[in-house]
Symmetry: C2
Subunit: 236 residues, 2 copies
DNA sequence: GTCTATAGGCGGATAGAC
DNA sequence: GTCTATCCGCCTATAGAC
């Protein structure tokens, strides 16, 4: 009985994976907005109604693809971070940034799915949040280590921003100074601006040696969050 | 004869505008990928084949919308810049950044059209390039003024980036130092990263007072291009 | 879980009359 | 420039047999 269940479960997992793989292929060809259960089924030699046993609707398939994409990106970034575990915070920061870029270049359509324009008529459920947070948490961890170690240069904080900065810090990382948390959120968005511009063609005719350019920009981002000239932080 | 032609031309312009307006409305509802000549015609009380007298294909309509969007954004940014013409470069830089954000918030779907994920199966023709360059040119102009006036702080340039930086400067602004041009390109991409994250929901549950946050981030970008602590540049 | 069949839509693009 | 008619394709989703 457990064997039969195991076999059935295995088959189900395999078919589910095949559906998602084919859906990812079609994402590349047609885009998320036109992702079609029917086309996936056709390509898999199934009939469309059969897919509804695996995904109750098109949107559920989309959600699965989004979570997979966030997780795949998160794993890449975590692996790169792990490989640089013995280096300093700046090196680890740059490693993570480059992992994000590398993953995006390798999976442009999945990148577009999670960081491009929202799919009209679709709103991601909250189940996507943990996967979506992985890269941000990684960057946060680097700053935390640096802060507890050598300390961080603190970007200046104008009075107008202080309340919001304190709110963000309380929400995201109560153990870090608000200056740092605010700078991180900005750097995080800016990182994806750089990646998106390269990926979506805005750098065509503008930046040629993109790898070198990006590496430098990632270093500038690190400077923005106080990683570049580490000094003993006043509060550490 | 010229009257008749004038009337016909006027009618043509009006119908063309009505088509684009309705198409923009549908952009908001369905997204660029699903923009459909048929649906536009239906809504306008026309028959689909009639639209082909105005736009030879769906892609041509899309191109027109893209150019309009770039121009609309460019005009907003130029107007904001003009209104701040008497202020210093930093104030003008921030005014332009805020105009970009403001336009994006007011026209989210057009923003997605030009800075979001590319529309699958569509590649923008070169005719979009001049309109697309307007904001970048504006920022370039601010830096040029600052450079010729008080000078610019020059962000440091590592040796590895120098060749590419010099190539970019030669292409985009031979009268500016490569350090500045490189920093501008990065800041330009980062600006759109900030705007995109706010617009596409990545700041949900993260940043609350987005206006204040953005203003501060725009100031940080200005610092990145050397606008914040202006000093007499060595080469000026 | 997979199939057939069906309902009830949607799309781009063209030909040819008026 | 607009119309009708047409070609040929596509989609989500469900019902009910096996």
């Amino acid at each position: 009985m457990s064997t039969a269940h195991g076999a059935r479960a295995r088959a189900r997992v395999e078919v589910t994976a095949a559906i998602k793989d084919e859906a990812r292929r079609q994402l590349a060809a047609e885009g998320a907005a036109k992702l079609s259960l029917r086309a996936v089924a056709r390509e898999l030699g199934m009939v469309s109604s059969a897919l509804y046993r695996y995904f109750p609707s098109r949107d559920d398939l989309l959600t699965a693809l989004i979570i997979d994409a966030y997780d795949s990106l998160g794993e890449s970034a975590e692996a790169a971070h792990g490989a640089a575990a013995d280096s300093g915070p700046l090196q680890r920061w740059i490693a993570v940034c480059e992992a994000v870029r590398g993953w995006a270049l390798a999976h442009p359509h999945e990148y577009a799915l999670i960081y491009g324009s929202p799919v009209p008529g679709y709103t991601a459920p909250d189940t996507t949040v943990p996967a979506a947070a992985r890269v941000g948490n990684l960057l946060l961890g680097i700053l935390r280590d640096a802060y507890r170690g050598l300390g961080l240069a603190r970007p200046p904080l104008p009075a107008a921003l202080r309340p919001e900065a304190e709110r963000m810090a309380a929400d995201l990382a109560p153990d870090l100074p608000p200056e740092t948390v605010t700078a991180l959120v900005a750097a995080w968005a800016q990182l994806y601006g750089l990646v998106g511009f390269e990926l979506f063609g805005q750098f065509n005719r503008v930046v040629e040696d993109r790898e070198t350019f990006f590496r430098h920009a990632a270093g500038q981002l690190a400077q923005g969050v106080g990683l570049v000239y580490p000094q003993r932080g006043p509060a550490s």
